[in-house]
């Protein structure tokens, strides 16, 4: 087990490094931050000066070596825009994103498993059709629709919830509800599909012969067997939340890493982009590790 972790950690480190190298060089092909940082009217000298200050005039290789050296010592550079350590900026935002992702995924997972399993239990029945329609709409509705409609209904018309921002627990309700919808739709469908197969297995018959009730048959016997694809998809959805829910963050004024990343990408604030990717990648790598462990825990036949 330990050697498994060691190998995994090493491989992850290498790929993380590869990721950074790739982002570093590719992003530098996409334009000049000086032109964006400075107003359009800025003179060529000013731009040159700006590049000088931020070391953008050196050959890219030199820049990279410098960057890599700094990173090793824990220095992720400064944000061009914000003139603050890039890592601080990112971590500040990431905490919000992490909470948002964790809470949303916890709710989604619970709800989707219950709904998807019940739908599979009576495949083709009323509940199945109904939940399929709801979840498919959820999976394909543009999220800004939901966001704006939710604000208009719940904040402006009913005045139950604040429109946006952070502060109280109430502020979390709308963003989480809107974020909830799409992963819910997707995971319900995956659970349903996987469960239909599991529920026809012979061991389900055994359980019925033992007199086990439908509830445990679905949620104990079949579900665990059906979980492999489900947790994979949960991981995928969680990863996209960890990478930031741009639209939701933008509309609800949620200071997460998604909007930060978009802004930094569009403004070519490379240090922030790199730090953000490093932080989210680390989180995603960790999550994938947990998922791989979950496979082994869920299904004893899978060995490494």
């Amino acid at each position: 087990m330990l050697s498994f972790f060691r190998k995994r950690a090493l491989a992850s480190l290498i790929s993380l490094f590869g990721l950074i190298v790739m982002v570093f060089f590719l992003s530098r092909l996409t334009g000049d931050p000086a032109a964006l940082f400075l107003p359009v009217e800025a003179s060529a000298e000013m731009k040159a000066q700006f590049r000088e200050i931020h070391g953008l005039n050196d050959p890219v290789m030199t820049q990279f070596i410098r960057y890599a050296g700094d990173v090793v010592t824990g220095d992720f550079g400064e944000s061009l825009r914000k003139a603050r350590p890039a890592l601080d900026v990112v971590l500040e935002a990431f905490v919000w994103t992490l909470w948002l992702a964790v809470i949303t995924m916890a709710l989604v997972t619970g709800a989707a498993i219950v709904v998807g399993s019940l739908a599979a239990f009576r495949a083709g029945g009323f509940f199945d059709r109904f939940s399929s329609i709801i979840s498919l709409i959820g999976a394909s509705v543009p999220d800004f629709w939901l966001a704006i409609v939710a604000i208009v209904v719940f904040s402006v018309n009913l005045a139950w919830l604040p429109t946006s921002g952070t502060g109280s627990l109430l502020h979390w309700i709308l963003p989480i509800s809107v974020l909830f919808v799409r992963p819910f739709g997707i995971i319900v469908q995956v659970v349903r599909g996987s469960m239909i197969g599991a529920l026809t297995s012979a061991y389900v018959k055994t359980a019925r012969a033992k007199g086990v009730k439908s509830g445990p048959i679905i949620f104990v016997h079949a579900l665990r067997n059906a979980m492999l694809p489900v947790i994979t998809v949960i991981g995928d959805q969680a990863a996209s939340l960890l990478n930031g829910a741009v639209i939701i963050e933008t509309i609800f004024g949620f200071p997460g890493v998604g909007k930060l990343m978009i802004d930094s990408i569009l403004q070519r604030d490379f240090n922030v982009v790199l730090a953000a990717i490093l932080v989210t990648a680390l989180a995603i790598f960790l999550m994938n590790l947990l998922i791989d462990l979950a496979y082994v825990l869920l299904d004893p036949r899978i060995r490494h």
Binding site: L19, S132, A139, S140, G197, M261, A276, I284
Partner: protein, 307 residues
């Protein structure tokens, strides 16, 4: 001496196509879905030639015309956009691009992802490790960044957009496939195939893939929606498809600011996406049953009862 099985053998099994058609007929939801998709497909092919001109004819006086004002003419029944162009015509014309991007991206990503997943699940730990870490990398590469980089370097076109969107979707298929392969390859019938000398390729494609396929199909149909909406988000940020090209996603993103004043601008393309996703999903659920011998009776029974 032959042991007879009562009755069953007497009826010759009908041809594959006939059987599928019967099973489709049996599931009315799937049938509607199939018809809808066929319509979409036809519109995708003839749309631009048929309504291409109507879709770009501007009329600032009729901007944001409301839907269901029948006296404007049938083209306007969905209303008009901010430049007074008939939404109905635009949706139809946009079908082609939308389908190309969505289908292209989904097909590319699912095929690549699945193949890599099969390889990862079935080959040596080292290859597995390499592929899985690659998946980690793609997964943690924010899709927007890939989009900006690729579209900046290669320029924005339908093809490049397809490419960008498909790269970002590879890991789901990859990881799902691999997880399933890990379990399925331990099953006895896989071992039986190995005993017969079946090559890795055959085992993977003939024995393992069919078991994973239903899950992948479900994912792929849902990804259709994902891709269309992601494309919309990219357009909004100025790195996706841009006018005068049209896609449903672009129409949604253009209608975004009018959501509270002229809801129909983004409603219809949104509805088109929802209906397409739903149809695909209904069809894939139907297919899952139709292709599974253990489940097939559900459809066959119904076919019998109904017809």
């Amino acid at each position: 001496m032959t042991l007879q099985i009562p009755d069953a053998a007497l009826i010759e099994e009908p041809r594959f196509i006939v059987r599928m058609a019967r099973m489709l007929w049996a599931d009315k939801f799937a049938l509607c879905a199939a018809l809808f998709l066929v319509t979409i497909l036809i519109l995708a092919i003839i749309g631009p030639a048929w309504l291409g001109d109507a879709a770009i004819k501007q009329n600032l006086r009729g901007r944001n015309a409301a839907p269901f004002e029948w006296d404007r003419g049938w083209l306007w029944w969905m209303g008009a956009d901010a430049l007074g162009r008939p939404l109905f015509a635009r949706i139809i014309v946009a079908t082609q691009n939308t389908m190309m991007v969505a289908a292209g991206a989904v097909i590319i990503s699912s095929v690549i992802g699945t193949v890599l997943g099969l390889v990862a699940g079935f080959s040596s730990p080292r290859v597995n490790q390499v592929i899985m870490r690659l998946a980690d990398v793609i997964m943690s590469f924010p899709s927007l960044l890939i989009a900006v980089i690729v579209l900046y370097i290669l320029g924005s076109s339908i093809l490049n957009l397809m490419l960008v969107l498909s790269i970002t979707r590879i890991p789901v298929y990859l990881r799902t496939t691999r997880a399933e392969v890990l379990e399925i390859r331990e099953r006895m019938f896989v071992q039986a195939a190995r005993v017969m000398g079946a090559s890795g390729k055959r085992i993977v494609f003939r024995h393992i893939l069919p078991v994973v396929l239903p899950t992948l199909t479900t994912l792929a149909t849902l990804d259709f929606a994902y891709v269309m909406l992601a494309e919309s988000a990219l357009s909004f940020l100025g790195i996706g498809i841009q006018p005068p090209e049209i896609t449903w996603g672009l129409m949604i993103s253009q209608g975004r600011q009018y959501l509270t004043n002229a809801w129909w601008l983004s409603f219809w393309p949104g509805l088109a996406i929802i209906l397409t996703t739903m149809s695909l999903n209904l069809l894939s659920n139907w297919l899952r049953i139709a292709l599974d011998p253990v489940q097939r009776w559900r459809l066959e029974m119904k076919g019998r009862n109904n017809g």
